[in-house]
Amino acid sequence: MNINATLIAQTIMFILFVWFCMKFVWPPIMQALSDRKKQIADGLAAGERGKQELELASKSAADEMLTAKQKAAEIITQAEKRSSQVVEEAKGLAKEEGDRIVSMAKAEVEQEVVRAREMLRQNVADLAVAGAAKILDREVDAKAHAELLKNIKAEL
């Protein structure tokens, strides 16, 4: 445990170690630490920002949804209105058409009736003439009685 030149060597060695540490060890590690600190802070800030953006986005999404719902309801009521309108229109048309068909049928029936009556009249006249001829048992001049027969036909 004598004090000797080791003292000088140790002092120099110590100074060299400190110099090396100051030059190559401390600054890069501190740099890395502060950089990481900054990165973490940035990351947290970004996260916070993202959260806020998400909140805003979800809010606007809800708004959009609401307006869309309203629009949809509007469209549905409009469509309902339109459909009832169409149904009304169709009903009207159908009624008209039906009426037309019915009246046409009625006219035809009346025509048929008229024609049948005409035919019946002719037949009855013929029958009456034939009956009269048989009753009189003689030839009735068709020509002479044509006026009479015509009157009878008209009476029928």
Binding site: N2, N4, L7, T11, M13, V18, W26
Partner: protein
């Protein structure tokens, strides 16, 4: 352990002697073979073991830290980087807590002091005879493995710190300011005559105060480590002598050495860390005082 060829005194002396390189009595350069020869070498001799061990430890420390510093990434740090960053932050906190000025030297200085002293102290926990035994096998006469039990190592550091304290005192306060601080405190008076009388008293007090800093710094570390090493040696002698004597209760006493060494080693873990921390903190505080205009 003490073999038959060693008495206890020789064993202790052997363990407390540095491997010294210098001028032998016959005029040639070589390793001192006895403590007397080492003493006769005077100042111009070198404790090879202290220098070698402390250099290796310092190199290991700087290699590991520089490696981490080089590959320091911003992403999630892995094992080694975590450990190094933990230490760096601990040192940084200590420096921020005690040092109020701005000086880029202080934090690396504190880091170097703390880790280097810690590693040198840590050599105390290597079983006491392993490395000296290895040295004997290699033909070296002595080997003292704990550099901090050599006052040269502790004084070497404290003198460097002392030089820094003086340098920054003069740089920050100016030569006149520093001299004034030494001469005009703690006693001062408005009367110039009394003030003049006080100057030598103040110089003496502040001079002692100043000189005490490096001496207390290095002797505290040296004393603690030396005493710790001494206790390990005594425990080894106790176990070894009984084992060698081959008495009836030898195995019991041999076991006692193991238990006591273990207990002391566990306690010593605290001491070596604490001493490294104290050296570091006091260095920071002294440098802080050097940076302050008035205190």
């Amino acid at each position: 352990m003490a073999s038959e060829t060693h008495t206890s005194t020789e064993y202790i002396k052997h363990h407390l002697q540095n491997l010294t390189f210098g001028e032998l009595p016959d005029g040639s350069l070589g390793l001192a073979q006895t403590p007397e020869q080492a003493k006769a070498m005077g100042f111009w001799a070198i404790n090879v073991d202290t220098i070698a061990v402390s250099f290796i430890l310092g190199a290991i420390f700087l290699y590991l830290f520089a490696k981490v510093a080089k590959s320091a990434t911003l992403s999630v740090p892995a094992g080694g980087q975590n450990f190094v960053e933990m230490i760096i932050e601990f040192i940084d906190d200590s420096v921020r807590g005690s040092f109020t000025g701005r000086n880029p030297l202080v934090a690396p200085l504190a880091l170097t002091i703390f880790i280097w002293i810690f590693l040198m102290n840590l050599m105390d926990l290597v079983p006491i005879d392993y490395l000296p035994g290895l040295a004997t096998v290699l033909g070296l006469p002595f080997l003292k493995v704990v550099p901090t039990t050599d006052p040269n190592a502790t004084f070497g550091m404290s003198i460097a710190v002392f030089v820094l304290v003086i340098y920054y005192s003069i740089k920050v306060k100016g030569a006149a300011g520093f001299a004034g601080e030494l001469a005009l405190q703690p006693f001062s008076s408005a009367n110039p005559v009394i003030k003049g009388i006080f100057i030598p008293i103040n110089l003496f007090l502040e001079g002692v105060n100043l000189i005490a800093k490096p001496i207390s710094l290095s002797l505290r570390l040296f004393g603690n480590m030396y005493a710790g090493e001494m206790i390990f040696i005594l425990l080894a002698i106790m176990g070894g002598s009984f084992a060698a004597a081959n008495m009836g209760g030898s195995s019991v006493l041999f076991g006692t050495q193991i238990l006591l060494s273990l207990a002391w080693a566990i306690f010593h873990i605290l001491i070596i860390t604490l001493q490294a921390f104290i050296f570091m903190t006091l260095t920071i505080v002294y440098l802080d005082m050097a940076h302050q205009e008035h205190h």
